[in-house]
């Protein structure tokens, strides 16, 4: 059994703890980019885990009879590994290049296995899905003409479009088709219709939306951006898309959904050069958690279960439950290593307004979803014991840095109030945000619309009926 290198992040970088409030937001230290060597180290860690994933999961996947939610099909591991390699190949670092080449050679027999060939042959509507790893490997310089011949025949068949897909999945198909047909010679014009129809093309439901909506957002963006190689036009202005991304980031950090948080953070390096204060803070949170755990963890890795297993079974469980989030951190670092896409080492404070954080923090007095739900914690009004990792990182910021991410705090609070149906506090929160000049955000706007609808509902229903309805929602 090969050794599981899950602790490849062995040299945690001492993340810069902020000095006591240097109030000059434009000093050089604040504009310094994140250390490139540290980003490369994190990416190399993901690639080292990818090697283990291919060796242990690419043939049979992972089946968990106790918790079927942990099941991993080999095609998923193969496709995601290929995408990681493709993304990593855009980072101009020798240590990364060596690992990409090593893992790619391991992956080739799996990407072009009999199982994949049969899938392409038997299910032409899924041909590009089965060929994803092959296409990524081809783009890395590992072509296979015989495989291409079969793929061409399959995608030319009558049944090639016989599978209905949601917009972000249509974008994936378009991206795969472009990548396969030599993207260097083909530059698509204009905005993809699928992009317009996707959640990228319209405001996301930031208060009541599902995790799948955020997933659709992040994946649509990855395919439209083509990892900054041949990006297509965005269906909305970058600022509007990033405003949605900030609200989604707040939710993911608050729920400790680091898989999705890292995907959301890709929105910054995949659409432009600047990182907002909230995005820079989000990256710091993920880096800190990664350094503490040795890898960026997901909720699916449970210690009790891990400790009940031994040997290869234990190793497979850990890898199957952890590899995906580790890959996403690798993707994020790969994007951040591209020229002029690196996040700042410190939270940018150029747009901070003094006192904004203090205006919102009192509304974080309810436990976050990642907090313990014990009675003593529920009853306390002290925010510091009720939050997750992001709160720990928030405590490390100086006053002006905290003010700079007041919009993120507002997004966290808005979602908490909405999910808990605490509409009275939601109204007070919006009033405080407005007074602080923070209400010009999509989530705040959606919250105001929600309150307007509730006011209409209240006028329509008798008081006792309204009270009953409130219990139902």
């Amino acid at each position: 059994m090969s050794e599981l290198a899950i602790l490849g992040v062995e040299r945690p970088v001492a993340l810069p703890d902020s000095p006591i409030c240097p109030l000059d937001p434009h000093c050089d230290a604040r504009e310094a980019p994140w250390d490139q060597q540290d980003l490369a180290r994190r990416l190399c860690h993901a690639l080292d885990v990818a090697q283990q994933a291919v060796e242990q999961l690419a043939t049979t996947g992972f089946t968990d009879s106790d918790e079927p939610g942990n099941n991993v099909r080999p095609e998923k591991v193969i496709s995601e590994t290929a995408f990681l390699l493709f993304a990593a190949s855009t980072a101009d670092r020798e240590e990364v290049r060596i690992r990409v080449e090593k893992v790619a050679r391991l992956l080739i027999p799996h990407a072009r296995s009999e199982r994949m060939v049969l899938g392409i042959c038997l299910e032409p509507a899924l041909a590009l899905d089965f060929a994803q790893a092959h296409i990524c490997l081809g783009r890395l310089g590992y072509p296979d003409d015989t495989f291409d011949t079969l793929l061409r025949r399959s995608v030319a068949s009558q049944a090639r479009s016989g599978h209905e897909r949601v917009p972000h999945r249509r974008l994936e198909q378009e991206w795969l088709a472009r990548a396969w047909r030599d993207p260097r010679s083909h530059q698509p014009k204009g905005i993809s219709r699928a992009a317009l129809q996707s959640v990228l093309g319209r405001p996301m439901d930031l208060l009541n939306g599902h995790r799948d909506d955020v997933y659709a957002f992040t994946h649509a963006l990855m395919y439209v951006a083509d990892w900054n190689l041949k990006p297509r036009a965005l269906p909305r202005p970058r600022a509007a898309i990033l405003a949605d991304a900030e609200a989604a980031l707040a939710r993911c950090l608050d729920e400790q959904d680091y898989d999705l948080a890292a995907e959301v953070l890709l929105a910054w390096p995949l659409t432009g050069q600047s990182w907002s204060a909230a995005a820079a803070f989000g990256f710091r949170v993920l880096a800190r958690v990664e350094d503490k755990a040795g890898f960026l963890p997901a909720p699916s890795t449970r210690l009790q279960r891990l400790n009940s297993l031994e040997g290869a079974e234990r190793s497979a469980y850990l890898l199957a439950t952890a590899y995906h989030t580790i890959y996403v951190m690798g993707l994020l670092c790969a994007a951040a290593l591209q020229p002029a896409r690196t996040p700042p080492a410190q939270v940018p404070t150029g747009e901070a307004r003094c006192g904004n954080a203090a205006a919102i923090v009192p509304f974080l007095n309810q436990p976050g979803p990642s907090a313990s739900q014990s009675a003593d914690v529920r009853q306390t009004r002290e925010p510091s014991v009720q939050q997750g990792h992001w709160w720990d990182e928030f405590q490390r910021l100086n006053a002006i840095e905290r003010d700079a991410i007041a919009g993120l705090l507002l997004n966290v609070a808005l979602r908490r109030k909405t999910v808990r149906r605490d509409f009275g506090e939601l109204r007070d929160l919006l009033a405080a945000a407005h007074a602080a000049g923070l209400a010009d955000s999509p989530a705040a706007s959606q919250a105001a619309e929600l309150l307007e609808r509730l006011a209409l509902l209240g006028r329509r229903l008798a008081p006792d009926r309204f009270s009953r309805t409130r219990n139902l929602i």
Binding site: L4, E255, K292, L306, N307, L318, R416, L472
Partner: protein, 83 residues
């Protein structure tokens, strides 16, 4: 308006009849779920037609979902794997 059917009242009336044995439904889902989750066929295969007799939702209750384990303990537990 008074003749309009109230959806919630209908549901409550139906629940009161106890005509649906939710325990039995849950038992069947528990038995079939693991194999269906990894099957190539979609869930519609459960009924043999495209009609859906039961909608099964994952209800994410705020504050009661899984979050990541203690990161320090994770580091310790995963370190054992390398020895």
């Amino acid at each position: 308006m008074s003749s309009r059917v109230n959806h919630q009242d209908v549901v409550e009336r139906l629940l009161e009849t106890k005509a649906v044995d939710f325990a039995a439904v849950g038992k069947a889902v528990a038995e079939l779920g693991p194999s269906l989750a990894v099957a190539d066929e979609p869930w519609e295969g459960f009924c043999g037609t495209m009609r859906t007799f039961f909608h099964c939702y994952i209800i994410n209750v705020f504050g009661e979902g899984n979050t990541v384990e203690n990161v320090g303990e994770l580091r310790g537990a995963t370190r054992e794997l390398q020895s």
